[in-house]
């Protein structure tokens, strides 16, 4: 049954990964503007490549 402990440990590692992903998403402001993102994805994408900034 010791394998259970091993599996639990692995699952915790995975879960911590998701927690970090959540913290990263908050930090990068992905929840700041829910409406904007929801319509932006529907826009026709005919933008030229963004000019290379120096």
């Amino acid at each position: 049954m010791g394998v259970l402990i091993l599996l639990i440990s692995f699952s915790i590692v995975v879960a911590v990964g998701f927690l970090l992903a959540f913290i990263w998403s908050v930090r990068t402001g992905q929840y700041d503007d829910e409406y904007g993102d929801s319509v932006r994805i529907l826009f026709k994408d005919d933008k030229p490549d963004p000019p290379v900034s120096m």
């Binding site: 639990i8 911590v16 927690l19 930090r27 409406y35 904007g36």
Partner: protein, 808 residues
């Protein structure tokens, strides 16, 4: 939106009055809207119109001229730019006009309209745009002028510029919530085997190991997520104040210490799942309570009203632009048409025609001659004037009032929250019961004593109690917001339910700024001649002219020749052979001695150079005004404070029932003092105002509500902003706030019942982890569901839950 039968503008969707302007086989209401369309179609940006029907904002065809010349000044440019290096700059603007997906599309495709814009990104929730551009292709001023040309006018004020550095998002509540949720989920899984009957399925060694995991996962909960409660309770106790956080902190500590002891000594499973759940639920409440309207600002002061810069003239009459804060006493400054007077000063050149309505509440422009003293805050209408500054901006009459008074606010002792009144007694009761049962058990069976003591602390932790208020008031605030009444924070709901006195400002609050009652009584003209006047008025877009034109009954299509408009003076033209002049007394007939503005806005009329009298325009009272007042008058003590003259006393007292509490010619300072006096007499005051002249009173009152035609534009610091279109529902909001306080009281009763049940079990030493793990979430969920559903249901029943869309 366009009325039935009339043509809607392709750009903004408003009525095309008087006649549509055809262009490219589409109809436009004004040349401004047409120009915007032209710009967009030339640049292949017509997707704008495909995303939404008529998404534009009505353009007030305005020439920018030198309006934004100050943006070329290096000093100001530096302050406004977020970042600038190596030819690339980034700037952020607040644009109140952003309202739909078309706006986002256009603003993010600005590069199509103009070379040099590398990237633009809209934050819809904040109505903010961030633009990165190449300095050598486009200047900051050109960029702003581009935005103005498509009628997305950025708000640039001293205040915005200064806040740039202070704006920092606080995400810690999300991190706390995330960590607590993560630990809660894991701890629940690890605790589950404990609850399986008998525990035969799982080997003991695994269960014990899982307890260790629980202990590890509980550390971030108590040290990071939950520490705010312990810190806040401790701070409160040091100040001799027992808040709801005290029993919560006691519960959290008791849970953790006892569970840690049980796990370390291998004597029991502990209550770690309850601990994590408790903190998680409490944080959800805190987050819900903290959600506010991001695009609205409740903290504005005179700084957001004043411009960023002023034009200074040197001895040779040369113009230079300097930031507002750098104005010095004795400097000569130039104020153009529609510009604000930034500091008190002496008028030295030109004719002052100053609109102080926002500052003093006086509805009619004030004439000032050379040599007169001018107070800051007025808006010059007409030709340019020059003034010599006498006081620095911060020392001006208006700003000084503001600076001084905010420090000395007299706080009403009656305003303490329901929860804070309860929490004190609650805490004492919890300590009493827990110590009581500990002592009792000490004599019966000493081994249970400490167990019973901690159990009571654990189970009495007022989670449900602490959640009822955030959810009830938070939901109420959201319902209000959907109906055009925006509150600064959830606490305002409770204060609103406590008020007993309402003070109204008149101009702009009870009356509308852009609609007039028109009286033709003082004019000796027949209906035919009136039509000629309307035909002339049709030619002008000035609000007074359009009000006169709008009062027509039939079709007006007489042709007007030689039409002329002199800014802030009047209009003239030849209609069917008659030379007609419409405007101020000076414009129409220089010899007239008639008083200009005794009883409203007088528009003098002359036919063939003969004075005929005047048309009287009075600001219209808001829709439903008399209903609202008579309804509120039954339950509240009503007062009116007006900066205007007494012309309206009679009409107002008819509606208010008496003129006892009506005061006219009130300065901003008078208003503030009046509110203060009411408060000292023991009243709980709601102040309803709109302009800077009410700012002091709004701050001083227990609850300040400002009325705004456009809630995203400037309104003075207050606790709530009411959309002016919803004035008639003011009474409903106040009534509903009382309902929501009742709901909270009832939910407190429910949570106390849970607490009593739990405490009884605990006092008898019967509390097991599984009971705690069921009781605590159950009580919280019941209370949250109850308050949310009942506020929504009752709001729906009273018809105030429907979404009200702010007219654009």
């Amino acid at each position: 939106m366009a009325k039935e039968g009339s043509i809607a503008c392709y750009h903004c969707g408003e009525d095309c009055v008087p006649t549509p302007i055809p262009f490219d086989s589409k109809s436009f209401c004004c040349s401004g809207c047409r120009t915007v369309y032209e710009i967009l179609s030339q640049n292949g940006a017509c997707d704008y119109y495909d995303l939404n029907t008529s998404p534009g904002i009505k353009a007030n065809s305005r020439e920018t001229g030198n309006r934004y010349a100050y943006l070329d000044q290096e000093e100001i440019r530096k302050e406004i730019l977020e970042f600038s290096d190596g030819g690339i700059s980034t700037v952020k603007f607040f644009i109140p006009g952003i309202h739909c997906s078309s706006c986002i599309w256009l603003l993010e495709n600005l590069g199509k309209l103009q070379k040099g814009i590398a990237q633009s990104h809209v934050n819809f929730a904040k109505k903010e745009i961030s633009i990165t551009f190449h300095d050598d292709s486009i200047s900051l001023r050109q960029l702003v002028e581009l935005l103005v040309s498509v009628n997305y006018i950025p708000e640039i004020s001293m205040d915005n510029v200064r806040k740039k550095t202070k704006r920092k998002v606080n995400n810690s509540i999300y991190f706390r919530l995330g960590v607590a949720g993560f630990c809660f989920g894991n701890i629940m899984l690890f605790s589950f085997p404990e609850y399986l009957a008998g525990g035969d399925f799982i080997e003991g060694v695994i269960v014990t190991n899982l307890r260790w995991f629980n202990l590890i996962f509980s550390l971030p909960v108590i040290l990071y997520s939950g520490n705010i409660y312990i810190i806040s309770a401790w701070k409160g106790i040091k100040k001799n104040f027992i808040s709801i956080d005290v029993p919560i902190a006691l519960g959290i500590l008791a849970l953790f210490l006892r569970s840690a002891y049980e796990i370390l000594s291998n004597s029991g499973p502990g209550f770690m799942d309850s601990l994590a759940g408790l903190v998680f639920f409490l944080l959800i409440g805190k987050w819900y309570q903290g959600k506010t309207y991001e695009a609205l600002s409740f903290e504005r002061d005179y700084e957001s009203y004043f411009p960023v810069s002023v034009t200074v003239l040197n001895d040779d009459g040369e113009e230079t632009i300097i930031p507002l804060g750098k104005i010095k006493i004795g400097q000569r400054i130039l104020i153009r048409n529609q510009e604000l007077i930034p500091a008190d000063g002496l008028l030295v050149k030109g004719e002052g025609n100053l609109d102080y309505s926002f500052v003093s509440g006086e509805s009619n422009p004030v004439n000032k001659a050379t040599g007169d003293r001018i107070f800051a805050g007025g808006r010059q209408l007409g030709s340019s004037i020059e003034i010599i500054v006498e006081k620095e901006v911060a020392q001006s009459y208006l700003t000084e009032l503001w600076n001084r008074e905010t420090h000395e606010k007299f706080t009403n002792p009656k305003i303490t929250t329901l929860i804070s009144r309860i929490s004190k007694r609650f805490t004492y009761a919890v300590i009493l019961i827990s110590t009581g049962s500990a002592i009792a058990w000490f004599f019966i069976d000493p081994s249970v004593s400490i167990n019973a003591f901690t159990s009571v602390l654990i189970v009495a932790c007022p989670c449900a109690l602490a959640l009822s208020m955030p959810f009830a008031y938070g939901n109420t605030m959201r319902i209000f917001g959907r109906n055009g009444f925006y509150l600064k924070e959830t606490q305002v709901v409770e204060i609103l339910s406590n008020i007993d006195t309402i003070v109204f400002d008149k101009t702009g609050t009870l009356t509308q700024n852009d609609d007039f009652d028109i009286s033709w009584d003082k004019l000796n003209l027949d209906a035919k001649e009136r039509e000629l006047i309307m035909a002339l008025a049709k030619q002008s877009t000035h609000p007074v002219s359009s009000a006169i034109y709008k009062s027509r009954t039939g079709i007006i299509n007489q042709t007007v020749e030689k039409f002329e408009e002199i800014v802030s003076q009047g209009i003239s033209g030849i209609v069917e052979g008659n030379t007609i002049k419409l405007g101020s007394s000076a414009f129409v007939n220089t010899n007239s001695t008639a008083e200009q503005n005794a009883d409203g806005n007088r528009v003098f009329v002359s036919f063939n150079n003969e004075l005929n009298g005047y048309i009287l325009l009075k600001n219209k009272y808001r829709q439903g005004f008399s209903n609202v007042i008579s309804l509120l008058g039954r339950d509240y003590d009503l007062h009116v404070l007006s900066g205007d003259n007494e012309a309206e006393r009679e009409r107002l007292s008819e509606v208010f029932g008496s003129s006892k509490n009506m005061f006219f010619k009130q300065t901003p300072h008078d208003k503030l003092e009046y509110v203060r006096k009411l408060k000292l007499k023991g009243a709980t005051v709601l102040m309803v105002g709109d302009g800077l002249n009410d700012a002091g009173a709004l701050q001083e009152s227990d609850l300040g509500v400002s009325i705004a035609d456009d809630v995203y534009h400037f309104s003075p610091a207050c606790d709530g902003i009411l959309d002016s279109g919803r004035f008639e529902t003011l009474g409903n909001f106040i009534r509903f706030s009382k309902t929501s306080v009742k709901i909270v009281k009832f939910s407190i009763l429910i949570s106390l019942l849970y607490n009593i049940t739990g405490t009884t079990i605990a006092a008898f030493g019967l509390l097991t982890p599984i009971i705690a793990a069921i009781l605590m979430p159950l009580s919280s969920v019941t209370v949250v569901v109850f308050v949310t559903l009942s506020t929504s249901y009752l709001a729906n029943k009273r018809g105030i839950s429907k979404r009200y869309s702010t007219p654009k």
